[in-house]
Symmetry: C2
Subunit: 113 residues, 2 copies
């Protein structure tokens, strides 16, 4: 077993409700959803946060925003809208130290960000 929970999900060692799968990315439902739709999107390769994004290959970085939009469309959020969030470090409340994006929608989202 890997020590990183998201690497464990990417390796199929830790169960998750997968919603989209790609050679470089994985999308699965957050276990503690903060909105009616709350998907977590990760690159399969381990980097700790957005601060280390430069360590990902250029093609992976280029696919990232496209994959995020594809996941939101797949979840039917295109017409109603969605928020995409990533957290780095303590002030952001980052809790898993593998770069991940939250895709949130299905309700009017908070004005707080």
């Amino acid at each position: 077993m890997t020590e990183c929970i998201f690497c464990g999900i990417a390796a199929g060692e830790i169960p998750a409700q997968i919603v989209a799968d790609d050679p470089e990315f994985l999308a699965f439902r957050d276990i503690a959803p903060k909105a009616p739709v709350h998907i977590v999107v990760i690159p399969r390769r381990h980097v700790a946060s957005l601060a280390a994004a430069a360590d990902l290959p250029e093609a992976v970085r280029a696919r990232m925003p496209v994959f995020l939009a594809e996941v939101a469309e797949l979840e039917g959020l295109g017409p109603t809208g969605y928020r995409v969030v990533t957290n780095h470090g303590p002030d952001s409340r980052q809790s898993v130290f593998h770069l991940h994006w939250h895709v949130l929608g299905g309700t009017l989202l908070s004005d707080a960000m």
Copy 2:
């Protein structure tokens, strides 16, 4: 004058407090900050939101996460942390229809997202 306010800022027609500048991206202070540090990051090329990210050239998409992290570092947010957010459509409260990322930090951020 362009009709898009962020295209206007990118063209230098509308004033903004620029914090980082790049051939493909621009970062400036939000005029209504929601955190002690609140930077808006835009690609200079107009696309309406993340939903249209595929319309950006691959090299621009690949630079996007790296530029976001660079801006956060420049603002001194690396050690304390930061949140990066983009909104698409009504449920997300998107208000300017030019793809933009909010980089937020300088305080413990909301748990709401």
